[in-house]
Amino acid sequence: MTTPKSEEMTYPAEHSEHTGEVERRAADGDPIPDPGLHEPPPRYTDVDPSANKRAERQVVGMFTLASVFIVASIVAYVLFEIEPSEGVSNVGDVQVSNFALGITLGLALLLIGIGAVHWSRSLMTSPEFAEKRKPLTSSEDVRQDTLASFNTGAHETGFGRRKMIRNSMFGALALLPLPAVVLLRDLGPLPGDSKEHTVWDEGVRLLSDVTYEPIRAADVDLGQLINVMPETFRELPEHGPERLNERAKSPVMLVRMLPEELSPAQGRENWHIDGIIAYSKICTHTGCPISLYERTTHHMLCPCHQSTFDLADNGKVIFGPATRNLPQLPLAVDDQGYLIAQSDFTEPVGPTYWERGTR
């Protein structure tokens, strides 16, 4: 049995800042001296030849069974088709195929693994060794030599003397990252005032988000909540990002409560139509679409972090991390009785951003 050669290195004396402690420790004496490596008791496979044979058979058995499962996985691949037949969902087929493939492959891998570990634990014969550690610090000589080499090289460049070369080089290198940043400029347009506007505008009809039909004020029931998009949304190109971006900005929820339940802030007295009132659906916290309405209290809960807004009281935050009220969409009715917007939102919708209050 080969024993790892002990490295012919001496270990440097312990370099403690406070050598006093090392001495004290030595003086106290550690209570129990090291009794030396523990010889583990022999394994049953070392002493009992039949146990040894049995372990061998077990390892062989596991590797063989693994082969069987590998073949089985190929069979499963061929056997369990997932072709969809017309109009019938193939979810069931997919799940069967997934299960069959996964179980066979999983068991094959598991058996190879357990077999290998079993082999090494009960049959391989390496005993425990103690190997010396090499000191990680290089010797003082080597360090000095390295430093000397560096000094020589630095001297040969004349780096210290030729200040002009050095400084002009640093100047050029310092500028070099700039083009890298500038090249990224076209990643996106500048925000401009795009965050301040939506496609809501004076006279834009409110469409139900489900039917895309305009909504007649008289048809909104008490306590009802309707998700709404602006009519102008339909004019946006079908392809391209505009529609998606507008869906992230313009959604509105419409609710109806008794007019006397409302307590509109100053200047908002005529923003509702007989208790029908509209707010942005985009949470002012981090922008989730708000969705959970409690009719009796008129509280609106955001499912993301539970900011709660009081729709009867100007969309005020009454709980949670949101810092701003929900923006309200001023409503009117056109001559055919359909709900329309008086204007765009009067403040930006969605999460707070740095420049928000300056616009």
């Binding site: 049995m1 550690d30 129990i32 997934n98 570990v117 391209g240 969705s291």
Partner: protein, 568 residues
């Protein structure tokens, strides 16, 4: 068994061995490989279950990469809008992005595609969990001490990269859940002072969500971050290999040796086998437990949301922070800093990571110890470090629970506001309580071990002395066991330097040394010291007087330092 001599390779009748010999010869004649192999083939690796955690991380990473490559063959990282006509009938005719449609294709039209998706996701969860557990084991055992600070930093970076890549991957299918996650990230970016709005427009290619983000995340997810991870794992393992592994204290083990089994064949077979076990386990999970069934969520629509769905576990604590934060916001001249988003989304993770990164150096300041350490600490012997770790875990868990506060409110049938309030207080109060309790437990364990070393193990046998006194008979410890309990160093509580020197001149270092002494007291003042030799001898002497039979004989041979290489 040590009598068998190793076979001579060139004369071997075994073709495999002769073949291996030829290959080794070919390579050696070109790059002198035997030089390196000779030193490393039989390199010693210590064995302990807690050393497997890092391996689990490594093996799940391999599986992540393998399954991920499979997925790239079908996935289309495009947000172009199409109308679905594929195999999943309930979605036919619905408008969606190509990314989402190709994820449906992978799930429903590619045999094994769903399996690979689930393997990819499950191994990610295992990867990050294993890294976290590995990191905790490194922390609690002091394996981050000199000379392993570099690997501590590399490891921490790996954890961050792992989480980051998990998140970008989660966003790729462009389903309703992943979109909601992205939206919250956008809210976080917008909260950054001065540049937030611009950053958001550059990242998303304009207004949120735009049409670019999936394509961009894809490049980051399959190339940039995995490249960094693989490079850093390589560095991590090379450093580990060079420095040699740490080991638990015990008889025959010292700071100057490493005790264990040779890399070839024992460690290699065991670790290789363990790799297949990890693979098999993840495959069985993926076969039986569904994960991220995107077809149930529908394509992303920024005006829709589903309630009560949780993000992947490693994002939970960030979400929890967002939920617990009070609604604070600063406005100066119309410029806004939404602290309620900025603190949990940016500042908190930044502070946590910075503290973790500098911890090895903090402890070095406290102990003033610049020596190398290769013997691990048993957590109880470093009560304050252990308690700090537990306090951090509790802090993390409270945040994590907060990430599911609506779930707990539903389960407990109480308003979600109550849960949030309770957790807000818990976040501040629980970590100190956890610190205090853990420290008591550690000190209690230390005290018990001290007793055990001094008096031996309680035998459960009661003896009655001639005077009628009842005492429990103590049995001497086995010397190996006893040594393990006292193998650690005595902690050193540092005292401040004198304020003035003998001539009354003020000491310029006084303030600094006072601060260090305070920290040192915080860490070590309460530690229960192991017995000294004197104490032990006195106790033995006393025992011999009353019960001569319980003489704990301690053999005096074989100090560990001259163990190296001459065992057997």
């Amino acid at each position: 068994m040590s009598s068998t001599t190793p076979p001579d390779v060139s004369a071997s009748r075994n073709t495999a061995i002769r073949g291996a010999g030829k290959v080794v010869g070919f390579v050696d004649e070109r790059i002198t490989s035997s030089n390196w192999l000779k030193r490393n083939l039989r390199k010693i690796f210590p064995d302990h279950w807690s050393f497997l955690l890092g391996e689990i991380a490594l093996f799940s990473l391999i599986l992540i990469i393998l399954s991920g490559v499979f997925l790239t063959f079908w996935f289309k990282p495009s947000m172009a809008h199409i109308t679905y006509e594929g195999a999943y009938v309930p979605m036919r005719g619905i408008a969606m992005s190509e990314a989402y449609a190709s994820t449906l294709e992978l799930s429903f039209e590619v045999r094994g595609g769903l399996l690979m998706r689930q393997v990819h996701h499950w191994s990610t969860l295992v990867f990050i969990a294993a890294m976290s557990a590995h990191m905790l084991r490194v922390f609690f055992t002091g394996a981050f001490r000199k000379p392993r600070e570099l690997n501590w930093l590399v490891g921490l970076t790996l954890l961050v990269l792992g989480v980051a890549n998990g998140f970008t991957g989660y966003s790729l299918p462009d389903d309703l859940l992943s979109g909601t996650g992205l939206r919250i990230i956008e809210g976080g970016i917008l909260a950054i002072p001065v540049v937030g709005t611009y950053l958001s427009y550059f990242i998303f290619g304009g207004e949120y969500p735009g049409e670019d983000i999936i394509t961009r995340l894809y490049a980051i997810h399959i190339l940039l971050v995995p490249g960094l991870i693989v490079a850093l794992v390589t560095v991590h393992l090379m450093i580990l290999w060079y420095q040699k592994h740490t080991q638990w204290p015990g008889s025959g083990k010292s700071e100057k040796n490493v005790v264990g089994y040779p890399f070839f064949p024992i460690y290699m077979t065991k670790a290789g086998g363990f790799m297949f076990i990890v693979f098999g386990f993840i495959l069985l999970m993926s076969a039986t437990v569904q994960i991220n069934p995107v077809w149930l969520y529908g394509p992303y629509d920024p005006s829709q949301v589903t309630a009560g769905v949780q993000p992947d576990w490693y994002i939970g604590f960030l979400d929890g922070g967002l939920r617990l934060m009070p609604p604070w916001e600063i406005s100066i001249f119309g410029y806004n800093i939404p602290l309620s988003v900025l603190i949990p989304a940016m500042i908190l993770p930044g502070v946590i990571l910075t503290l973790l990164a500098v911890y090895p150096w903090i402890e070095q300041k406290v102990t003033g110890d610049k020596r190398e350490h290769h013997i691990l600490d048993r957590p109880r012997n470093m009560p304050v470090r252990t308690s700090l770790g537990v306090a951090f875990i509790v802090f993390y868990i409270v945040l994590w629970i907060a990430g599911g506060n609506d779930f707990f409110a539903t389960v407990l049938e109480i308003p979600v506001n109550w849960v949030s309030r309770f957790l807000q207080f818990s976040l501040i109060l629980m970590p100190p309580i956890a610190f205090w309790i853990t420290k008591r437990i550690c000190l209690g364990l230390q005290r018990r071990e001290r007793e055990k070393v001094l008096h031996g193990r309680e035998s459960g046998m009661i003896v009655v002395s001639p005077e009628g006194e009842f005492t429990e008979r103590h049995e001497p410890l086995d010397p190996h066991e006893a040594y393990e309990l006292v193998a650690h160093e005595r902690p050193v509580v540092r005292e401040p330097e004198p304020a003035t020197d003998p001539n009354g001149v003020p000491n310029p270092n006084y303030k600094k040394s006072l601060r260090r002494a305070r920290l040192s007291h915080f860490y070590f003042a309460d530690v229960i010291d192991k017995p000294t030799r004197d104490e032990l001898e006195r106790v033995h002497h006393h025992h011999e007087e009353i019960a001569p039979s319980s003489n704990g004989e301690t053999p005096q041979h074989g100090a560990s330092d001259d163990q190296g290489g001459q065992h057997h």
